[in-house]
Subunit: 412 residues, 2 copies
């Protein structure tokens, strides 16, 4: 217990808590939290794994099930806009990743979209005719990208070479067909240099596929501005689409006529209801479609994207950096020295929207205890505590509390 | 208007209507209709395109959204059984297609599952080492199967040869790696010989992939009994999973250790949360998974499958044949000669659960008028009227009415 004048640690805590309240009061995004279903007893810092539920979703899904499916039935393919939903929802995602219209389609999983993009990029490099035969992969990639790249390599006569994401620019060479890079490292939260890497890969005569799973909805991506070739990403993290909601594929407009998908399902046909035995690809983003779109999940995502109305990604990024800066300060103030060391870079241009702390030897136990005490992050083996910051619903007082509880657990 | 003794056509109509009522009264499945949301003013004969909404779905989906996602959040991956849903729901589908447990996994679209199955079958044939190089495809296939088979062929060094589904048994030869066949033709409703074709393809040393989109939930399939190698199908037709609900993949148990997927996403890894850079495939049905499962749609499907509790597929098949027999009789009685000729076979062992009528030159207009009058089938170019019969919710009086209205439209 502190005496009446307060200990130094009490004063620190009081100052940080007061600062948090001031920051929250000045936060232009603070009203957005009310658009989500959240438990005020819990600090939810796992939006980089599963985004929180936007309030609009439940009603929309009920309407899709009960009215669109139950009452209108098959008429909804046209009357409720089901058939065109992959492109329509794609346009909503596009606006958040700096892509003009007609270049993003929503559907399938991230893994399946990685396959489409990597194979198509290899084909653009002329590998079918014996051209460039190397696929560069981010060595610290989220595993599925690496597994799928290996399969794409095997099926196109290429080989995979794993290099540090930061070295892709230097490693791309005359044999490189495509580089597959994560924009933000899922484990460390490091933000990679999308403009510089893209330019360097292009200078080497190759293509680049960016995996935006951990950046879309958290920071500006600028796909068009930086001349990115292909991009993929999920929609259940910072885009709050719900568990396993469909992923998306971006194909830059000028590449679309040459986009040669390895999964040419009937939904990507120029005249899908013509039921022709010969395949003729559709123009535009629809060429990235495969089978019948998963309407319930797709329209839940569409409802979830309504929370972005009137929100600039730049404002989200500014708050994200302020939150993670503040979290790092609070961690320094509250956590016993040496117990949890940041692995996320301090430099803003190298930081995504999460803070990862190395915590040996008991990271898994520590995270379980944090969750028990109402601070929800997650654990990634072998020793990483991850805390994701979603500016639309996470505040500074939440952030201070999370660091304080972490300090208590690590001091205990 | 008829006079007091009734015209011949009136007597025919009265007799068929009376017979329909008797058949409905004796129908052991008649109580099932109450488990679906249906408009009693409409005869819904498009369950072979989009199955009707089971009443249990709306409540289940609301629970998944509001409680599992909204309140439990990421804990639901374990606590609500999200992670294991692809195999759990797969087991429910398996029971309907004659597959023992552990062989069916739900996820992705039919097109994507065709790709997995055909490529895996080619690899089993040793094509990677220069083996058999021919993929036989049902010439009248639903188009996506053919398009995807072409892609699989291109990526494995094979060629596609299209033959009549009825000739696959005779055409499979020493160069055949795999035959991809539709169990029921989507346009004509013809049921192909799964046992005989499978045995003949095996005798030729090849594998077979059956597309069950138009048979699962409508008739017994017997995958295990007939030693089928691979099967795929959608879940939004006779399984009533909802628009674009996830598809499934069956890999026979003894082939699973050699099932070599072209889409080895992280969900198919033996230890997905180990996040290992090297891919090690899971055992069993999970090897057919790719990315994160689409939980909303998957659990909507799970709820939809509850309508099968206590229902034997054999009973559904018996009623289906009785319905389609009765429909054909009513069509003969009501439709002016030559205006709509059945293309669906009369023989029971060659008929699926739909009746297709050739109607020249105005099939599209006729179907639009039928829909306007409350009889919902669909049109397939160039000249086919399709009527799908779903024994769980379609009765004999519905059937008589549909044929009667068709007769009125065609006489008009």
């Amino acid at each position: 217990m502190s005496d009446s004048t307060g200990s130094k640690s009490d004063r620190t805590r009081d100052e940080l808590a007061a600062e948090a309240l001031e920051l929250d009061a000045a936060d232009p995004l603070r009203t957005k939290r009310a658009e989500f279903v959240l438990d005020d007893e819990v600090v939810y810092l796992d939006g980089n794994s599963l985004g929180a539920l936007p309030r609009a979703v439940a009603g929309r899904v009920a309407d899709v099930v009960e009215r669109q499916w139950g009452r209108l039935g098959i008429r909804s393919w046209t009357e409720s806009g089901w058939w065109t939903a992959p492109e329509r929802v794609g346009a909503r995602v596009a606006a958040l990743v700096g892509a003009g219209p007609g270049q993003v389609v929503v559907g399938d999983s991230t893994s399946v979209n990685v396959f489409k993009a990597v194979v198509a990029a290899v084909r653009l490099a002329g590998r079918d005719g014996g051209g460039r035969d190397e696929i560069l992969v981010d060595a610290a990639t989220f595993p599925t990208d690496g597994y799928i790249a290996e399969s794409a390599a095997r099926m196109t006569g290429c080989r995979v070479r794993a290099v540090d994401a930061g070295s892709v620019a230097a490693e791309a060479g005359p044999r490189t067909a495509v580089a597959l890079v994560n924009h933000v490292d899922y484990r460390t939260g490091r933000l990679h240099d999308l403009p510089g890497t893209t330019a360097a890969v292009h200078a080497a005569g190759a293509r680049v596929v960016w995996d935006l799973c951990h950046s879309a909805g958290a920071l500006p991506v600028g796909l068009d501005a930086h001349d990115v070739d292909f991009a993929v990403g999920c929609t259940y993290k910072y885009l709050n689409g719900g568990p396993g909601s469909p992923a998306y594929l971006y194909v830059r407009r000028d590449l679309q006529p040459r986009f040669d998908s390895p999964l040419p399902g009937w939904n990507s046909h120029a005249d899908p209801f013509g039921m022709a035995p010969a395949y003729t690809p559709a123009d535009g983003a629809a060429r990235g479609r495969v089978g019948t779109p998963d309407i319930l999940s797709l329209l839940a995502l569409e409802a979830a994207l309504d929370v972005w109305d009137g929100v600039a990604v730049e404002a989200v990024r500014a708050k994200s950096l302020a939150l993670t800066d503040f979290f790092l300060r609070c961690v320094r103030a509250y956590v016993p020295a040496g117990r949890a060391e940041p692995v996320t870079p301090a430099a803003h241009d190298e930081r995504g929207s999460q803070v990862s702390l190395r915590c040996e030897p008991d990271a898994e136990r520590v995270m379980a205890e944090l969750v028990r005490r109402g601070v929800v992050g997650d654990f990634r083996p072998p020793d990483v505590l991850r805390f994701g910051f979603t500016p639309l619903y996470t505040g500074f007082a939440d952030t201070e509390r999370a660091a304080r509880v972490l300090g208590e657990v690590l001091a205990g």
